[in-house]
Amino acid sequence: MAGVTAPALRSRAAILVAGWAGFYLLGFSLAGALLLVPWAQSEYGKGPDLAGLIAGFGGLWVLWGMRPRSARKPEEGLPIPVGAHRRLRELVAEVSRQTRHPEPDELHLVVDANAFTYTTRSLFRRGKTVIGIGLPFLFWLDRDALRSVIAHEMGHHVGGDLRLGPWVHRTRRAIALTLDHLDGSSFLLDLPFALYGGAFLRRSLEVSRAQELQADRVAAETAGTEATARALSIIERKSPLWNAYFWSEIAPALGRGFLLPVAEGFAVFEANVRRGAGTDGARPERKHPEPSSEHDTHPSLGERLASLGTPEWEGEAGKDAAVGLLDDPAAAEDLAVRYVLVDANRKLSRIGWSEVTEKIWLPLWTETLTPVGYAFAKLTATGLSDACASLDDWADRTRTGLSLLSPEASRRRAERYLGMWLAVCLSRSGFEVSTEPGAPVRATRGDVVVEPFRVVSELVSGKRDASEWRRTCATIGLE
């Protein structure tokens, strides 16, 4: 296991503060050494020569790269309005009491499969403590598992991690900005910072992982080991699916001003994926437990469960679903997704999943194809096989805007365009197009079912014969 030792808070703090101080020591030493060259040449030699002037400029360049830059970290998630979701607030308050930590000032909802906590500090105003809970956790977890998640976040406060966090953040940011400034200077000035940054990152991530294990222990003490293991296991299992779901199904709808039932859609998406009805037809393989890498902020699931001394939770959540803590789940969904919008106050129209094809996908495909409509003007359904056979030509023909795609990416884009074209084409030919989450796009007319994207994919890969496709077209009356 990489770096799961748990040094005491004092030693962690010492390490991180030393890391912060070390960065500035390194930077000022390097800049000072470079600035000393022209000074020494002037003081002890015949005056600065070209190399001395370059060294001096390099020193100033390093100092300029290290200059403090203020950047206010934006708040994560949107706060749940006062008075809303009373039961959820009570749970948070209860966990606070259990962990002997003051109740957070704000409770945020986010759309990510994540939970967080932070404390804002201000010179002239009282700071506030925020706990954020990912919307999907409320759908996936039971109340005890959610209690464990909240307790884990409170554990970061109890463990003093929040006091160290700003140091870590500042140092990482300072190193990153300095590296960004010096990167490409071509004179190896970034090398000491890159080496130091790498070492600091490894050490600080090691500390972060230790903090997570300690927060897990607080969670287990508060909500029980089993509930904590359950929460960790479920979140680990579902999070990748959630990300795929959100960005492939929900985000396009949001882009067009619609809000779909998020929880309902994920259930369908998950079921479809589990049934192996994914677009590639492959069943997702179960991942073997992996040790955390030195780049991870959190330990791997295996390490976290091992730390708790409990096995992985294989099943689903308990009966007492956390979603019951919400007064109005739909309102919670609305609040959570608005965080990803550029304009959080944008008007969103609620629609059901049955409307998604007509209101989102078909218009989206049509709009996508419009700029390259000239390429499809003479394309017929029977000619699709020829188009797929000459995908490279179509990759060129369907190119728009800046040419920044590789040949393979261009082919994939052309393949996607052909799939979209066929879907739109089938829709116009009286087929009913279905775009169920997590399932392939299907066009149905009577008994005839055509999966346009799969057809194109098979024609491109050669899995489907061109003559067979032409016969299919003839059978279903497509030209």
């Binding site: 040449q41 003081e43 370059i54 004179f187």
Partner: protein, 704 residues
Amino acid sequence: MEGLRDPAGLVERVPELVELSQESPAVRRAIEKGKPHAVYRALLHFAWFKAKGRSRDVARELLSRRRLFLEPIASAPTLFTYNGCGFRIYGRADRDSDGTYVSTHYLTFVYVPLFPLRSYLTADGDTAKSYRFVGKVPGSLATYLWQRLVALAVVLSVAVASAHAIDDSLHGTLHVTNGLALPVHVELSGAPPVDVPGGREVPIRASAGRHHISVLLEGAPIETGDLDLPRGKTVSFWNVLGAALVFVENVSYAANATPDAASEEEPEVHCSAGFGSAEDVVDAFTESPRTISMSKDSGKVVRRRVDFMRTPNACVGYLSATGKTGPAAALARKIAEVGHYRLEDVNVALELLKRAGEEDAVVSLARAARDQNPTSVEFHRTYQSAMEATGKRRDLITEYRARMQQNPGSADSMYLLARVSEPEEEMSLLRTGLGVAPHHPYLLRAFGFRQMCDGRHQAAAEAFETLHRTDPVEFRDVALLDVQALAGLGQIDPARTVVREMLDVRDLPPMTREQLVIAALQLSSFEPRVATEEMVARVEPARRVAVLLDGGLDVSKEDLEHVTERAQRSAFEVALVAREQPASALDALAKLDGVVVRSLSGVQWGLLFGEAARIEPPHAVLSKLTEETPLDRVRTEALARFIRTGESSAEFVELPADLRAAIVLARSRRAGVTDTDRKALREQVKLLDPLRGPVTRAMNAWPG
């Protein structure tokens, strides 16, 4: 690919990388770092050294399109040039039908790209020479290598500069200036020993701080000391015995003018022995450049320079010329002693000791020098001169008579005794000696000289001719006397021949050469007359007036302007006035510094001394002329005595003929001298000045 992190979204644009990253861990690592340019470089390495078959083809295809590895930019690059110096973009590689291309941002000098900074995916802007920058792309291989090589060179040069700066901050340089004529060996603690040739400067680099230094001459220590060697720009030097004239001067530069050692500022001279230093020096022991770059508005730029005069024992001359005769004599004596009594050093030291009035030291040094070189006639001569100068002729006669009795057959002994004997015995001894050794150069020289003193030009010329034939090198010392003897005999052509022959000798001492040139100019007034312009033109401008004055020719204002040394110029001006108006010259000289008197030639001094001494009461300047006499006390007194009383002496008789002529002239002009005596004295002047030099000219021109 399971677990491939792609923070830059590169794989979405270039899905081929998924497969390639499975074959190349370096490519995978670069993708996971989210740095497309690092991916490009990893892929380049992979394609060149590891990839095979299809992977290599795919990798090369991707590498051919640098735009695939685009990275975002926060702002457009700076495009600014002044006269082609600044930042420009060049190149239009990887053109695409979308109107974009890859250009490279360079640091330029006069439009020549020096250093490639970055490559950008670029599109033409809406107006001419305007651009839209899409993002950063990796540079081409050539650009990358160019950049790295230049960067490496810069990094190395900075490293070297740093190393030098550190070294400079820990070390200092001690410039050892050896103003002696002999080489010395210098041992500075913590540094390798060095040999410093005479008249040279050798730098020694050593750690800054306390050091012990030893200076050795021919293995014997002549100077030791401790010094604190500073670091930095302070120029430190060690002046061996203080013999080298180290000077610090400000060289000023003005637009459209040559460098000038600021004429209004006297250089700061260091003639003290041992350690010295100078601050803010730009040119240390090197010539300042003829020209420097400066802005037109800066008016004047001054560079501080430290250097030393390469001529041996320059400080002796400097101290003497600035009236510090005592220190000059002490230094000269020390140089002579540590230099194992080189004849030149001894002569200089004796001269200065005489001038300083240190008669005991004169005798002591001359005796020590002679004792170190007991067989050298020259050192005996020097010793004898020193004894005579201090009025110890009688002691000398006794000493050398005893010496001759110990070596009765020795021509050298006879010669040395003859030198100090009264004229009658001298002539007898010379004849006896020449009987024993007819070609003995000193005897021939002394015999010829004695004949010249007595006005027997024929006998003198014969002796000199013999010497010329048998010892041409020794003859050089008496060539001028030979010329005078021949001129006195009316043998002008043979005299001119001797002058020409001597002037052809390459290593003739400068003073002898100058005297021969003067003789040639004086001979030009004899029939048949010859042109002198060419000969005068060959004389160094600074010495031209001296030659013209003693040569009896006219001196122009332009000639005088070449004389930059103030005292010398004043001396020439006084001498010019003295050609016609001796009284005015004496009045002028009375108002000038003693340094001016020392700048007069021997014959000019003699004319003015004689004129000042002949009148009653003597002119006020006489004391100054006596004080700054080029002779010793005894001889100077002998001159004054002759002018006043007409009493001759051995000291007077053996003085140079032209000087004696000047004194005889003065005697002839003294009130109370009978006409018969005056006539005889004027005839004697003609005899003593057969070349019709300044004395004859004065005799003819001065008012009675």
